[in-house]
């Protein structure tokens, strides 16, 4: 088996050194740049799965009392970064509408935390995502994806107030197209996770 050198990044198979597989959600509304961010740091071309969403229809007055169910699918993108020490970090692009709640819970299971991407031109489009993240109890950081025509007149305090963020929730700006910038945003989240868990149990 595994005849390819473990340093290869073109293959999809896991390197032999892979031991601890962890995941971070990259959450945000459609079009905010989730896949762009994942693509900028992933060692594999981002893949996606087609996930089924089973939703109860809005009809409640049918005669038999049987609710019709309709099934739609949504594509969930993900990427992968192999880190030294046998850690493999997966990034899952997760849409944030309320109707994705059951899918959200499945993807969020075991996640370290969430990086919530926000478009400062459409801050209100991220309210649903933030609601889902907070309800799931997942620790998170907020990253504004820097679109060229984004308004620059908002102060950090104004943005923080608009999103109703806790004082200790990290808020950074990134360019999701740039690898180093995306990594900095991920680092802001991971540092927040470390700060929440002081190493008292050693």
């Amino acid at each position: 088996m595994a005849c390819a050198p473990s340093s290869t990044t073109s293959g999809i198979h896991l390197p032999d050194s892979a031991r601890d597989l962890v995941k971070i959600l990259v959450a945000g509304p459609f079009g905010v740049g989730k896949t762009t961010l994942i693509d900028s740091v992933s060692e594999i071309r981002p893949l996606h799965t087609e996930e089924e969403l089973t939703e109860a229809s809005a009809q409640v007055d049918d005669l038999a009392g049987v609710r019709e169910k309709s099934t739609t699918t949504v594509a969930i993108d993900f990427g992968r970064i192999s880190l030294p020490g046998g850690i493999v970090l997966y990034l899952f692009g997760t849409p944030g509408q309320e109707r994705f709640r059951s899918l959200w819970d499945d993807i969020a299971h075991g996640a370290l935390g969430a990086l919530v991407l926000v478009d400062s031109r459409r801050v209100d489009a991220s309210f649903d995502v933030l609601g889902l993240v907070e309800e799931s109890g997942l620790p998170y950081a907020v990253a504004f994806n820097a679109f060229p025509d984004a308004p620059r007149h908002h102060t950090e305090e104004q943005l923080r107030a608009a999103l109703d963020l806790e004082a200790d929730t990290p808020m950074v700006t990134c360019d999701a197209r740039e690898k180093d910038s995306s990594i900095d945003a991920l680092l802001a989240l991971v540092q927040h996770l470390i700060d929440r868990h002081p190493p008292e149990h050693r």
Binding site: R19, V22, E50, P84, D106
Partner: protein, 120 residues
Amino acid sequence: MTGRPGGRPLVPAYLSTGGVARPSRPQLERLSVLTGTGEPAPGDLPAAQLALLEELDGGSLTVVEAAALLRLPVSAVRVLAGGLIDRNLVLARAPIPPAERFDPDLLERVADGLRALKHN
């Protein structure tokens, strides 16, 4: 591994599991690691299970990666993998080995690894 060009999935999702809706291994997570045992595939193996087994020829894959390659929902791959595990054709392990699960240094190691990545 063979690249699979775009178009129809290899097996339609609704047929892939032979009508089985629940995996025999409910603990399979998206990031559970699937590895072929190297046992020869029996001749009566359902096509969808064989397709999954063949994806593992070149090495280990997570459940979600196998789902993406086979163009099947994660739920279907959980069922297929469960069937292969039951027949000792595939081994599955948790995303993090139990002994490492509460490693207090894990987050630090993730941060160090990400920082190292920036200077490449």
